[in-house]
Symmetry: C2
């Protein structure tokens, strides 16, 4: 019996109505999501309670697929639930609602996958999850933290169901179109009406409208009218009318964007305007409600105080050493937070126990997405008694001239409960003070922990954290329980509105059943009995084993990316591998697309044929197989359902990619290039087409700098010509991370030379493998650096919106790794000539300094001594490859045993001419006729025999080594700063000659010991 | 336990989902009604089945009341149901749905009140009802006949619930604001959230936006963009996107209209554009579905053939005379159709029985809103045997010269089964023909009726009729059953998809239970036993009796308008009077407002104090009492609920009126006058302000024509000045029928003289009571006639969009009744001078002819002979009052016994000079010197003694009477057309002199017998 679309809605309405939600209606103007309905956007603001549920047909023009894609539409139907404040169990309520729809968690793989929701257009954000049902995202679950720029208190829980996806999942369907919406009862029989019958033609028409037909000028004019009207409404205090027009702005912006009519620069202006309006609406609404004295707050129950009263002990303390366990139960943490909490606790716990003076055995830390566990063996039942030396007033202030204690001393004695007569001065910290030895009775461990545990929990910090209840505490995700047991004793504390106890919770797919923990030492057994693999390494090993086994079943090998493996390990508590397949025909999609979809979007392990040996033990890439391996959170019941679900999702994603690729390859890559004119690079710097033209010009100048062959020049010219064309293909628009890769793929399919394709494909890699790729990358990055610096957009502080730091690294790193000599200054100058705006000499210097700064970092990060790097870069930063060679050589010299003899000698030469009294005109001429001493003549002879220039550090320093004895004798015997001016200048010029040998090689003055 | 808004919605969703409807969502752009949602607007087109139900928050800007009115809002919530095709029992389904909401028909007064739905803006119409719950309209129920200009086949049933009103009714609330929408469950308790909390602030803001803040230029620009985009979409075959923009056009038009920014002339242009677009959408959608081969039709069941196979007799015929009853059961007919059907059947049945050769006793016809009953006593069991004379070929063609029958005769004989030898010629219709006497065997009555009854039903025609099922039959409202019994025998027939039987149905409030009728003679008893008063006179008497009794209970008298009484009688089958009250404070509203609301809107009888005697037996108006009497359809159970419901409705209506009046009287009437500039009268003729200025000018010219005193002139000037000002008040905008009346009321409240107020108040009455009122009316109507004729907008055929026929009658009738002499031609000429466009002489003549035409009708309708009227109007149509006097006199003359002597004598004079050979120059001079005969001299002497001119018909004809003998002798003895030209001309001139006495009085040539 298949479900119908309308029955899902009716069931959800009933469910949420009976769980204390108001039921309201979709909004009467196009919105991109239920969030924009005032029942959410406005009502989540301010302190009043608000529970609401409603359907929201949501219009997103650029998701239109002409009704061809079975899963993606310009209009999809959300079911939106807002719970404000957090009822304490929103995930459980949500899972119950799925149950009401017939989705039994035991039969599926339901996952809460990290999702940091952010909508800059309305200045809103929150943390939560995508909820996955067998790999399909069916719901977004968010704890709203901010809306319209206003911080939310209380936080609202937003649950947004994707109804189409739920219908597909419930009916295990391939596509939505033939699934029932409902049925029409005729006089004699009922007719099922499909979702497609109701929506598909409309979907086609609207896709066509949004992508092809909408009149850009008219829609732009609408936008202007809407925004002007929104502003006027806001000025007049008409909040909801203003909001309506903000929504209309937003929709018309979306149309324009879908029509490809919005340049990057314009986008910011559009967003800014919408954001300002949305903020205005939010602020005005907040004030309005305040003015009304928050009617819903007045009527509502007094908000329940969270459990802040301190719980008390439930049994007597033991006097024996016992195990201690603390389990912090949380809603699903992001994978990286599972790791960071682990790292923190691993460091913190031993220190903490020391600070608490608690003796203990082994400390073990485990983290999973749902629990952070601290286990301490043999924890002492109490602190030891301790003596503390307490420092009092200085001795001279403690006793008067008669040796009697002063008031200060008496006070100190009283405070520390001492007999004043026993006070005496002691040497402390190098001074004399009166001091007291204070005895401190060791406290029982439970009492110590009661104080310490809340602080411990508080000490766990995350990159991003959120509030959820009126405790105001921030954490990665809400804390829902604590187990805190010392032996059999519950350590009673409360933090973040949650009180500790002895009840843990089980696996999500089992409904998170309560698990009573009678004592700490039973903890591990009970958790394991509940099916939970607490130990990350154990989970990981299990995954690796299962994945390998699964892949080998079909004679393949899983592509096991370590990052992915780590992430997946942190997403589950009980891993079970599920292998699924996909339609072979999708193998014709670009390999990177397939892998990217499987790994990034779905967290699947792709499977390939065993990688072939391609010679000398190296191995190539095995061909992808039409299979994937997913890791389910849970056991192996109903695996077929889980597999089919995941297969469906992947198939749908591939279908979407396939749609794009099929559309894209209707044109040759070359034919996309002119369309770059519609894509703004930057207002001052023109379109991407303009940039592409500049790159072409610049690459011609780079060719000689890079000493390209004629063949290479031809290839790179073509590659640069085509490099950016893929940016306007649908596939790249959809999956931006595949830019370049797709270009390369399409280049091949368009009949371009493999070298050209390769160069295009790898242009965004930090270090392209081929020299052709290097040229494309350099042309791109140099152009960005020069243009954007000239436009005044150099990075400032932490801000680097155009990724120029990355670009600079992308200039120096490949030059280094390819070991290609280069003249950055010349390249910058050439690029400057191609820019549509003036690039001043100062700007060029600024650019080169900026690049040098990156090069400096790169070299230091590579392990070279900072002073060595600085010394080299002070003289030859414009050629990164050369810099590296110089750094390597110089570092070797610096590490030589005789370096302490070489450097000082050379330094003497340099230092004397750098002294403030020496001017450069003193260094001009050297002549034997002015020499008076043999030592200076010897040195002069030696200098005369030097080469006029040295090509590297080694040559230069080898020469210096020869001079060291002569230099030392010279300085020892000859007074450089002689009375006679001519003699003096002649001597200065002589050492200056030596000092100048380092020019262009390294400024040894930067070295330690100089 | 009060109902909540959301529970009503959820119950309706469940009800209609379980009754075979698709459940869909409100539309994502502002609509004025659920009808505009494509789920209705598009899906009712074409042959495919479609059942759907959805909520539709509907936006009607001009209904905004700033949240002050408890029942009227710019946004109200519809629940829309479409049943296509008609399931056969939509009213019953609907009543079931009310039951599901907790509305038991036995506890309420549920009424189906005629409603002819029409939306010219989208070229759509249908027939049906407003459904009233205790006087409150809670639903519109319509059989759609046309949508977007396309005739619908099948017809769709549209049920539109007004959810706010239902909530109010269910909770017996005064206003919506404090009624529960639903509730929010907190951790410990639930908080009820009111409708007002969710909507009131928004209602205020949107009201303010629509009435005050919307920027007219911007919204106008939006409209233009939307309509351009709609057109482009349509041209590109993008139907739903086009429809979306049509809706946006419509909404922006509504905003402009609410802002008062649309002139009358513009309105047409706006409407036309929207209508054309809507039609385009409808036509394109029809074609699209056809192109798709109607997918829903293919999948649907084969459409059920309605019962068209002829039923057969269910028992043997009786040979005795029996009673016959035919009951046509219908859904509630409009009141006027109840009467027209009665009239038709009363005439038709006896004739029909004669035509059918069926002897019968008394015929009785009864009609109620639910049944049309024909009862025939003692109907003969069969036709008598009959002889017919059948006319054959003419005698001369029937027999050859030998007297033998020709082929023609033989054929005739054969056809009529006669022996050719018996053929003989007879005199028929004044010629000679062969003829045959054909014997016809009388058929049994049941058989005769089987054929006759469908035709009888078909013969019942209505002013407006509709289709509802695939029989294609049109009727006032759907036919749902027939009882057709001859004695105990069911006369089996089928018509309009319904088969006859012996089951009637009972009262609507009892659920229309089946009533088995075993035989015709039991019909009346059973119907009465079911509580139905079949006889209109009985119902009416019952109403009168009950109303009087009720009124007397509170010492008042009901205001019983005959039309209202008649209408109410035709709205119910079992009348029960319910008296209710309203807040006394509303008595301060204008009396006409109160009465108009009670009578027109609610069909209540108002109650007043007994009318005071004001002298000489005349009685004045009693003051209104705060009570009303409604007539319920049903018995007297749960009268309290019914009364309270009705009281609520009336209170709400009065509150609305009160809102307007309070708003309006913030300004003096005079202050509204300048705002008339914003109200277009006609594009070519300017604004209502311009018209008002013209009226003022014209009234100055009319003053002398009407011989006004100085005092009268002053008053009329003021009255004309203020006359139109009320058109821009809110009260008149709301209840246009009260124009003038409200102006008078506001004039008084603004301190104007009572005469002025009275004149303003009665300006729209066909015949104002006061002369001041007459002046206002004349100025208004003459201006309209002259201006609009000049603008080329004279009525053509049945079309009279500006009501010029009424205007013309409104010119002549009051002049007649006030018996004021007037010069229409002069008045028209004066008015012409004030018009902004040229009024040619020809146009002026055309206007006068048109007015004369109306005057002609008025006089004839007053009972005067057509020829008398024609005679008078031929000579003095420009003075209606004078015309009437002349007509009266002339009619008296015409009725004199000696008229046949008077007229011919005068006629001889007239006829001879009107003969074609006589030219006017022959009539110029009369001189005794040219006379030869004494008779002409005698006549001449008599003529010389006449007055030069007679002031009226009597004087003129008294003079003629004197001349009659002389005229007769003259013509007998004297040859007028003498040989001698001079003599001839002289004689012609003499009789011409007599003929000319009628000039300016009457053209006796128009009289019969002339």
């Amino acid at each position: 019996m298949s479900s119908s679309f309308q029955s899902i809605i009716l069931k959800l309405q009933d469910f949420w109505a009976s769980h204390g939600c108001l039921i309201t209606q979709p909004y009467y103007t196009q919105v991109g999501a239920g969030t924009m309905n005032p029942a959410t956007f406005l009502r989540v603001l301010g302190p009043e309670p608000w529970n609401v549920a409603y359907v929201e047909p949501s219009v997103r023009p650029d998701d239109g697929r002409y009704g061809e894609n079975p899963n993606r539409f310009q209009l999809h139907t959300q079911y939106q639930v807002i719970l404000k404040p957090d009822p304490g169990n929103p995930q459980e309520l949500y899972l119950e609602s799925l149950n009401a729809l017939g989705i039994d968690p035991r039969q599926h793989d339901i996952r809460f996958v990290e999702d940091n929701w952010e909508q800059p257009a309305i200045s809103a954000w929150g943390l939560g999850w995508e909820v996955w049902l067998d790999g399909q995202e069916i719901t977004q679950f968010t704890y709203f933290q901010q809306m319209g720029g206003v911080a939310l208190d209380p936080v609202s829980v937003e649950i947004t169901y994707g109804l189409e996806r739920i219908l597909i999942a419930l009916n295990n369907a391939k596509a939505i179109w033939n699934e029932p919406w409902g049925s029409i009862q005729g006089r004699e029989s009922a007719t099922v009406v499909t979702y497609g019958e109701i929506r598909r033609q409309e979907e086609f028409e609207h896709s066509k409208y949004y992508f092809e037909a909408a009149d850009v000028e008219r829609v732009r004019a609408m936008y202007d009218l809407f925004s002007a009207e929104a502003e006027a409404c806001l000025a007049g205090g008409l909040i909801v009318p203003a909001h309506d027009y903000v929504l209309k702005c937003s929709h018309s912006f979306n149309i324009l964007d879908t029509r490809g009519a919005i340049s990057v620069a314009e986008r910011q202006a559009f967003f800014r305007r919408i954001r300002e309006l949305a903020k205005g609406v939010a602020v005005a609404y907040g004030e309005q409600r305040k003015g009304l004295e928050y009617p819903l707050l007045k009527n509502a129950e007094v908000r329940m105080k969270n459990a802040e009263s301190k719980p008390s002990f439930n049994s007597a303390f033991s006097n024996l050493h016992s195990s201690f366990v603390l389990e912090i139960g949380v809603e699903e943490l992001p994978a990286s937070d599972v790791d960071s909490a682990h790292a923190h606790l691993t460091t913190r716990i031993p220190t903490l126990l020391d600070e608490l003076h608690l003796a203990h055995g082994d400390v073990r830390i485990f983290t999973t997405p749902r629990r952070l566990t601290v286990y301490v063996e043999n924890l002492s039942p109490s602190q030891p008694d301790r003596e503390n030396l307490v420092k009092g007033p200085p001795a001279d202030k403690a006793f008067d001239k008669d040796g009697k204690p002063t008031q200060a001393a008496l006070g100190f004695a009283k405070k520390n409960n001492l007999d004043p007569a026993t006070l005496e001065a002691r040497e402390i910290d190098g001074g004399k003070y009166v001091a007291a030895v204070v005895k401190q009775k060791g406290r029982p461990t439970p009492e110590v922990l009661v104080d310490a545990l809340p602080k411990l929990v508080e000490s766990i910090k995350f990159e991003k954290s959120m509030r959820w209840n009126d405790s105001g505490v921030s954490f990665s995700r809400p804390i829902r329980w604590y187990v805190a047991l010392l032996g059999e004793v519950v350590i009673p504390f409360a933090y973040a509105g949650v009180a500790s106890g002895d009840i843990s919770r089980g696996l999500r797919p089992y409904g998170s059943p309560d698990i009573a923990i009678p004592s700490a030492d039973k903890y591990f057994d009970l958790i394991r009995a509940a099916g939970i693999l607490l130990d990350k390494e154990e989970r990981k090993a299990s995954i690796v084993e299962q994945v390998k086994q699964a892949a080998s079943l079909i004679g393949g090998e899983a592509i096991m990316d370590e990052n992915l493996l780590n992430e997946v390990t942190n997403l589950i508590e009980l891993p079970t591998a599920v292998m699924g397949g996909f339609d072979k025909e999708y193998l014709s999609l670009p390999r990177d697309v397939l892998i990217s979809v499987m790994k990034k979007h779905q967290r699947y392990f792709p499977v390939a044929s065993p990688s072939p040996v391609i010679g000398r033990g190296a191995r190539g890439e095995g061909a992808l197989l039409p299979h994937f391996i997913a890791i389910r959170n849970g056991d192996d019941l109903h695996m077929d359902i889980v597999r089919e679900g995941n297969e469906h999702v992947l198939g749908a994603r591939f279908a979407d990619a396939d749609f794009f690729v099929r559309e894209d390859v209707k044109l040759k890559l070359e034919e996309y290039r002119p369309k770059l004119a519609g894509l703004t690079f930057h207002t001052k710097l023109g379109s991407m087409f303009d940039k592409s033209e500049r790159m072409l010009k610049l690459s011609e100048d780079l060719a000689p700098l890079l000493k390209l062959t004629e063949h290479e020049t031809r290839n790179t010219h073509r590659a640069v010509y085509l490099a950016k064309a893929d940016l306007v293909t649908q596939m790249v628009t959809e999956m931006t991370s595949l830019q370049g890769v797709i270009g390369g793929e399409y280049a091949l399919r368009s009949g371009e030379a493999p070298e050209v394709a390769k160069a295009i494909a790898e242009q965004y890699q930090t270090v392209p493998q081929t020299k052709d790729g290097l040229v494309v990358a350099l042309a791109d990055r140099l152009d960005s650096l020069v243009g954007l610096f000239a436009a005044g957009l150099a990075p400032t502080g932490a801000k680097d919106p155009f990724g120029l730091r990355r670009a600079a690294i992308g200039v120096v790193q490949p030059l280094i790794e390819h070991n290609v000599d280069f003249d950055l200054a010349k390249a910058v100058k050439e690029s400057a000539k191609t820019q549509p705006i003036a690039v001043s000499d100062e700007a060029q210097k600024q650019i080169l300094d900026f690049v040098t700064g990156r090069l400096n970092v790169v070299l230091k990060d590579a392990g070279y001594k900072y002073d060595v790097v600085d010394a080299v870069l002070a003289e030859q930063s414009n050629n990164p490859a050369g810099s590296l060679r110089a750094v390597k050589q110089l570092q070797a010299w610096v590490e030589r045993k005789d370096w302490h003899e070489i450097l000082p000698a050379f330094a003497r030469c340099v230092r004397i001419i750098r002294s403030p009294s020496v001017t450069s005109d003193q260094l001009l001429v050297i002549g034997r006729v002015f020499m008076t001493e043999p030592e200076e003549m010897d040195l002069f002879d030696a200098v005369l025999s030097l080469q006029p220039e040295y090509k590297d550090v080694d040559e230069f320093l080898n020469a210096i080594v020869e001079l060291v004895p002569l230099i030392n004798i010279f300085f020892d015997k000859v007074l450089v700063m002689a009375e006679d001016k001519i003699v003096r200048n002649n001597r200065l010029a002589l050492v200056g000659q030596i000092a100048s040998l380092s020019y262009g090689i390294a400024d040894l003055g930067k070295l330690e010991g100089f």
